[in-house]
Symmetry: C2
Subunit: 157 residues, 2 copies
DNA sequence: TCAATGTTCATGCAAACGCATCGACTTTGG
DNA sequence: CCAAAGTCGATGCGTTTGCATGAACATTGA
């Protein structure tokens, strides 16, 4: 149970330190982005949903699939989509292939808001991320984060 | 305004891709950790507060300082500390050096809960992070995330 | 010195969240 | 073929969050 008597950090310690560093970096950046006055008329979380939709073929996705990519509970996403629909940024339609499903579609207005907010947000990313690391480091960070995320699919619950 | 006609991704694109990768990796991991049945009797966010306190000298910190490290608004943290105090996991006392301040102290019970939950949480970290990357990659990820976070202190608002 | 300004924490309040659950539909297995 | 089990999305409900604000104290500058 106790770590081996070694000067080297164990694999578990390395993992814990890396996760903490990742978590803290994300928190610090998220705080900066949240402080940026670029989000009107949506929230950062809503932007995430619109952004995710905008990358999908036909700008549409099943609610369930959307939920897999966004850090929100299913009921919360359901209600957020409801609000976005009321604001005219997305539309909901039944899935013809599965009677249980709801398909969420990004409207033109939603795509426009996504682009506008996205451009402003990108300025922050360039400022807070792009000036902190050089090109090589950015590429490495991206590669490791992608690897870390994709690995989750192979790790059973 | 438009990117130069080049096959190379611009610095801005690199930064955006890296941030997205970081954000998605953090989301995926946070979801896994949240699904782990290890949090009782606290939430993941509350654990973060207890954990942060546990690393401080004398296990105590000003509310304001705590708020700098945790991704919560000041009122939310104030109320969370209120709940943690009601649960006996922290204590609040006035700051003798500054009449405005409130010092939050981790109690013995709070430290015990932090350790118990921390041990269980660490198993998840080892599983989800420690098996996804090798030692060298973990060290690199940690280094880049730390650099990214620390750089924020030098970037004005 | 002291008025003006800034900082720190608490609280009222509305919005958003997650959990539990339900109805509707789909998939599976005998 | 159909009953049982599983999946999907919506909704009731209590909890937690953030925003706006206020009271108390600290700091600043004339």
């Amino acid at each position: 149970m106790t770590p081996p008597p070694s000067a080297e950090p164990s694999r578990t310690e390395l993992a814990a330190e890396s996760w903490e560093a990742l978590f803290r970096a994300q928190s610090a950046l998220l705080r900066r982005f949240a402080a940026d006055d670029v989000w009107d008329p949506i929230s950062l979380r809503e932007y995430d949903v619109l952004f995710t939709l905008s990358r999908r073929p036909d700008r549409r996705a099943r609610l369930r699939d959307l939920n897999r990519e966004v850090l929100l509970s299913q009921p919360s996403l359901s209600r957020m989509v409801e609000r976005l629909e009321a604001a005219g940024l997305v539309a909901r339609e039944p899935d013809r292939a599965d009677g249980r499903g709801t398909v969420v579609v990004l409207t033109e207005a939603g795509a426009a808001v996504r682009r506008t907010v996205g451009r402003r947000h990108t300025a922050g990313i360039r400022r807070y991320v792009g000036t902190a690391l050089d090109d090589e480091e950015l590429r490495t960070l991206r590669r490791l984060c992608d690897k870390l995320r994709l690995a989750q699919e192979s790790i059973p619950d």
